[in-house]
Amino acid sequence: MSKKILLEHIDVPGIDTYDVYRKQGGYTAVEKALKTMTPEAVVEEVKKSGVRGRGGAGFPMGMKWSFLAKPEGVPRYLVCNADESEPGTFKDHYLMKNIPHLLIEGMIISSFALGANKSFIYVRGELMYVIYILEKAIAEAKAAGFLGKNILGTGYDLELVVQPGGGAYICGEETALLESLEGKRGNPRNKPPFPAVKGLYQSPTVVNNVESIATTAWIVNNGGDAYAAIGVGRSTGTKLISASGHIKKPGVYEIELGLPVEEFLYSDEWCGGIRDGHHLKAVVAGGSSVPILPANLILKLANGEPRMMSYESLSDGGFQTGTMLGSGGFIVFDETSCIVRNTWNFSRFYHHESCGQCSPCREGTGWMEKVLHRIEYGHGSMHDIDLLVDVAKKIEGNTICPLGDAAAWPVASAIRHFREEFEWHITNPQEATRPGAVYKGDMALV
């Protein structure tokens, strides 16, 4: 189950340089696409691959590409979303830092497919050192004739621009990202119109995640059908998983979709199991925004069958017993973790990162943070639990962008699965606020 598409050459010394990347077969997909394929044919292969957006939403990439409007005489743009900021997610950081040319190669192929002549990579501003790595890779690719005017003599021109963000989670939302790229505050836009019709500079635009764009090199080289043959069902291909928390081997792993969660968590090839002497309490499987699941439900579906690392299996059971693959930010909690404290921490994050445009999110995230803070610090009342559920419900679905949902789900799911722990904090404030105190009541540890 260790098929590698993106990280195949990750351990080759010097793979971050053009020469080594090229020796490992790099840029052959650009040659193939530009010299032997039409843009439409590239789009067709990506459609056939079934690859889904790897930033978190999981929308089929080929379909997103096919929505791009193509009015005459209007430039079209490709923008790579490298604003990776979802807590628990660090795969794009890892990919760009270690194999920058894979992203550059994917950008050239994708820009060609979409008919873009100027494309942007929007990188979170904190990763300035990664921006320098990408700029160096771009200069190398340009010197080798893969960027600039008349690439490989095909008449196709492309310029890549790396743009820094300024420290704002919201700019990972694609329309906020476009606003930011235009030099404005990162306030998400109302949709429609969608970016495919009116995006950057009011021109048709596709925004794709780093990992999504990076897959296109393999898809062009091997064909969409070959990609679709990897994985399981509608979860085709491989996925980069960022593994963090109480595991023996935190890090970024490429898995074939369909890998059992249990194998991912306990095999030495991946996370290596829970740190010594401890037990699994809970997992947030797809970045902080997705519902938290207790140990028993992350390993098995409600019907007792093994749960797998795929879009469908992770969401099996809806939010009652399931969660989402999201960005693949896999955060593991052992029995020393306080769910209330973590939920408060995440709520503080969303309150801090709300752009303030929609009142349910601006106000609601603040209230959730406050109420969770008072429960965590021993001043909560039983009524607060229902209040949290109520506030979360009133945010969900009532905002321009999905940040509101992302703020509501962690709170709602923590209460759904760990209600007794919240109640314990409220009824035992003195005990619960002792340093290092953790709920030890009835729960399913593994």
Binding site: G125, P250, S288, I331, F333, N342
Partner: protein
């Protein structure tokens, strides 16, 4: 826009870099250069004073308010003077699971300051930030462009020691 004495100016190298950045956007879309220019300005002056923001506004031929509203929205921009080294400490969940809060308490105690404060000698400013996308290597903080990961008390001692020399 402030029409008063404004003596701020980029160094020749940064001015050349700024012009290169401005030129990379389509005609009429120079406002796109705002965030990169603010980073460039912060690299030179350490923080963004109103005079610096006005200077950037003039360079892009936009209203000063367009710069202020952006500079106040994004958390990376410092709107007040900061110490020589700005420590941006990740306070988000995954780092906390790895002992981030304990190490943070130690750091605050060591420096004798809290979040948003600067040491009396002007050497360190401490800021709390949200997730830095390095969760597998937590706890994490960033000083300018450099990430420091897998932090422990001992690592904190080493880093602060080196920067205090």
């Amino acid at each position: 826009m402030t029409e008063t004495h404004n003596t701020v100016a980029f160094t020749p190298e940064r001015l050349a870099k700024a012009q290169e950045i401005i030129a990379r956007y389509p005609e009429g879309r120079q406002k796109s250069a705002l965030l990169p220019l603010l980073h460039l300005a912060q690299a030179q002056w350490g923080w963004l004073s109103p005079e610096v923001m006005d200077y950037v506004a003039r360079m892009l031929d936009i209203q000063a308010i367009e710069v202020y509203e952006v500079a106040t929205f994004y958390t990376m921009f410092h709107l007040e003077p900061v110490g020589k080294h700005v420590i941006e400490y990740c306070r988000t969940g995954p780092c906390c699971l790895m002992g981030g809060e304990e190490v943070y308490d130690y750091l605050k105690q060591k420096l004798g300051i809290g979040a948003g404060e600067t040491t009396a000698d002007g050497l360190f400013t401490l800021k709390e930030v949200e997730c830095l996308a390095a969760c597998g290597m937590g706890p994490v903080f960033q000083i300018r462009e450099q990430y420091h990961m897998n932090l422990t008390r001992e690592r904190v001692d080493e880093i602060i020691g080196e920067l205090s020399r």
